[in-house]
Amino acid sequence: MSGYLVWGLILLLLIGGTLFLRYRYPEGSSGRRRMKWGFWALVILIVGLFLNYTLPSHDVVRITNTYNRLTTVSWENAWAYASPDTGTGEGTQTRDIRFIEAVHDDDSVVVFRNEDTGWVWPPYFKYDSSNLHAEASNLRSDKAAPQWVMVTYYGWRLPILSIYPNAVKVRAVDSADATVLPWVNILILTALALLILMLRRMWLQFRERTIDPVVEDAGDFLEGIDAQADAARAQARGWWGRFIAWINTWRQKPRP
């Protein structure tokens, strides 16, 4: 089955489920209140997982092997690989991918893939996989004389989906306890938080200056028509109602 079809079906299911829950638990019911909590928890979880996947992480390892092998990528794990046109990819199903095998100080193992990100997501703009592979091969060492390496990577190792974190940088370090201050992450998260605050203030300003005056006008106009006034004011509550009222000002006004 094609990947687009599967993800399309999943999206349809999500939309259908949302609509069903919307009508099953009307505004004001206790189910709706719990649903709102659940919704925001889910949003935070998804954003958190997304950032956890995308932002750079660091790991101190000893590189034991570097190689490439033909790897089959299909719909369930294609999202964790480079898009086919960024370098090593030949077909959409099977491609030759470079891997870096490594062990931690406590003998637990980790396998990185080494793929170009190209000019698409995530924005590492990495197109030096071959050089990185040469550096990683140069830093190979055995247990007797370990050469510890700080690997910068993003992504997850999930064996059940056959996905691997993508190494973006390797750097020789003195000991297995080396640490690094994640200043890139600090910068990105700070910028994101500032951007969200900024967008919120922009929205509030737009509402205060553009939508609210319109709603007040509409309220004044409807004062005379008792029956409709209540319904309109009820509708004008909430940001969606205000937005609709603003849209309605584009319509031709009835003559008094």
Binding site: G118, K126, D128, N131, R209
Partner: protein, 92 residues
């Protein structure tokens, strides 16, 4: 090569949307500040026409001011970041 052109195209579209939104937001802030400045101490015997003229004059000064020019950083900073990231990532 097509991929980098595609990135630039989509970045340009996205940044243009943000440029317009931020521009409208700053204009709105400036206009609100001018209105408040006038309403806090309206000169005697002057009405709506003088108020509108005062605001129009203030907005004209804003359109020529430094802040309006700084709005171009919306394009400059992300494009600069792309170049810096690509350089740090790929060259030692």
């Amino acid at each position: 090569m097509i991929a980098i052109l595609r990135l630039l195209l989509f970045a340009f579209i996205g940044l243009s949307v943000f440029y317009l939104l931020l521009g409208a937001y700053w204009r709105s802030l400036r206009r609100e500040a001018l209105e408040k400045q006038w309403d806090a101490a309206p000169p005697d015997g002057q009405g709506a026409a003088e108020r509108n003229a005062f605001i129009a004059k203030g907005m004209e000064a804003y359109e020529r001011g430094l802040k309006k020019k700084l709005l171009w950083l919306v394009y400059v900073i992300p494009m600069g970041l792309i170049v810096i990231i690509a350089y740090v990532q790929n060259y030692q």
